[in-house]
Symmetry: C2
Subunit: 361 residues, 2 copies
């Protein structure tokens, strides 16, 4: 594939090439239906097989027991910022939020817009969100604890999840879902916009435990109720079929080609290790997240000045390395190395970085 580039986009992001090839090859005739995946009915056996397989693979990969339901909701993680407090804080309950950056801040804002009582129990805003808070004291009576497990913009990640005791965690895992095995014991709900580790934009995976489903009130709009999705296998109305199909293929790739989340985790640690080791050994490049809080998914770094960063990103594209510009809100550079971005891409990036330093440093 001479004409493909190494894709370090933060999201939408790289997908496994074999997945893209399978979509392409069957695009005019899906599973012998004589129709494209974009043309088949969501009420057909063909699509039932797709969505059910995606659900089953999710359960196997994350080792979910029968307490959990796997749902597919539209609107991205941003819609979840609204739905979580709407569904779980309907009777005057309060929730705890941990603020680790832009996405947590938005989640907090959407709870506040609805006048839901929440407490920000920890924040790393004091140091521009370059670390993950530790030793957090949670409210005794919180309905849930909300956190963002990985922060794409600042490049930080919870290395391990906090101990919330009996309080269920609700986790925005948009940028690290399926990148490592999860201990589900304190997790009430996970949500993840698909467009980083598991699929294209246009669908959000929601994994929800039955006791949280039981809290959903009846008098909220149907499309904002987790119960609607749980009761209808995510097909109360027409689901985003193409996006769910792509997720199914990515999960198949994770299970059958990679070999599961332990193996994916090992590969991801190797990739991030190569990059951070290189950055730490350099006096030209500088990693921006605190050690111990560094993301395995989004490696953020700076060059000596803005001008060099601009040249770096432009030269990288000439060398078939795309998506290295940092988020517009913080500047700098960022290499997003989600599941589908392989070790070869990371090695090529490091070679380029060495070469760039030699010619510009």
């Amino acid at each position: 594939m001479q004409d493909r580039i190494h894709n370090f986009n933060a999201g939408p992001a790289a997908l496994p090439l074999t997945v893209l090839e399978e979509i392409k090859d069957s695009f005019l005739n899906f599973a012998g239906s004589g129709m494209s995946i974009t043309e088949i009915s969501h009420r057909s056996k063909w699509f039932d097989d797709v969505i059910n397989d995606a659900v089953e693979r999710t359960k196997r990969l994350l080792k979910l027991d029968d307490q959990y339901k796997v749902l597919f909701v539209q609107g991205g993680a941003s819609m979840q910022f609204c739905m979580v407090p709407l569904n779980f804080l309907s009777n005057g309950e309060s929730a705890d939020y941990i603020n680790t950056g832009t996405w947590s801040t938005k989640a907090i804002k959407e709870a506040q817009i609805q006048n839901k009582p929440i407490t920000i129990v920890a924040s790393s805003e004091d140091k521009k969100f370059c670390y993950i808070p530790r030793d957090i004291a949670f409210s005794q009576d919180a309905a849930y604890v909300h956190l963002t497990s990985n922060n794409t913009i600042k490049g930080t990640q919870f290395a391990s999840l906090p101990d919330t005791g009996k309080i269920p965690m609700v986790i925005d895992m948009s940028s690290d879902i399926m990148s490592r095995p999860m201990d589900m014991s304190h997790i009430g709900m996970i949500y993840a916009g698909a467009q980083k580790n598991i699929g294209p934009a246009g669908v959000c995976m929601v994994i929800i435990r039955q006791d949280l489903l039981d809290r959903v009130p009846e008098n909220i709009p149907s499309l904002l109720s987790y119960a609607t999705f749980a009761n209808k296998n995510s097909m109360y109305n027409t689901p985003p079929c193409f996006s769910i199909y792509t997720i199914q293929l990515v999960l198949k790739w994770l299970e059958e080609t990679i070999g599961g989340l332990e193996k994916m985790d090992a590969i991801n640690r190797q990739k991030a290790g190569l990059l951070y080791d290189f950055l730490d050994g350099s006096s030209f490049y500088r990693a921006t997240a605190e050690k111990g809080s560094r993301s395995l998914m989004n490696v953020t770094f700076r060059l000596p000045d803005d001008g060099l960063e601009k040249t770096f990103v432009a030269k990288a594209i000439e060398n078939h390395l795309g998506g290295l510009k940092g988020h517009r809100s913080v500047g700098g550079c960022r290499a997003s190395i989600y599941n589908a971005t392989g070790i070869a891409a990371v090695n090529d990036l490091i070679s380029f970085m060495k070469q760039f330093e030699q010619t510009s440093g």
Copy 2:
């Protein structure tokens, strides 16, 4: 394309073959980016060109003036059932609803769940929704009149829109958008789940007039506010890129291959005319919608008994004619003949129907 079938699905539905082929051909490398359309950033020049072209083509095809904004929202038409009253009935206003079937009924329900005051000013429920109400008296002070322009399940359609005077219409046009030219003079907003006439599932087109945008309150969740989408060109958060891209290609096909909505309308009238004429001349098949209220998009019909209908649908599939089963809530048969289902498909269907009658009648 020997292995493709004629697709009469009600939605998701047929897409133009040339559109599917273009998606397939560029699926591993979109516009020279070295990435798939599913992998490019929504903040890139590549995607800006896609979404802006989709907006401009929509404006040209529907001859929209600058009062209208074209938005892309997730959640399907069902999410609009919730968003319309939330955005336009925030200060105690009331709205008028016309009930012409399942989808109107759901729109009414979602307003009522929110305790918004609405009046059902007309309904065809008395005759199982087999006709479109006429001569409707609207409330003087209605904030808007809501109607469903085409009813997929019962196969009825407003041949022309009612005169609502100064009250803006809000129209669910999911199943007939871009099927004919529209007189926009009394239309405040159109919304349309894409998966019938303009694209795949996973995105809803919203066309909204500035005076309705001006009514949107500030204190509602960001993802439920039309202002959020209007202010950010539908990219407040990651949009459903693939679905918008497919819409862009379908609109290009409408403009450049078909030649605009007048020509599309003529073709659609020809297709529906062929089918209804055949049904009206038959004593074996029977069209179920009242004359004068018949849909040009969904032709609903019955055979002498349920058993024959079941055999008919099964035999049709053997003859490469798919999607002819009626909606599960009403039974019978239905041929959905949206824009992308051509005259050849209709002629083949009629030939099959004649043959089936001869062998079974």
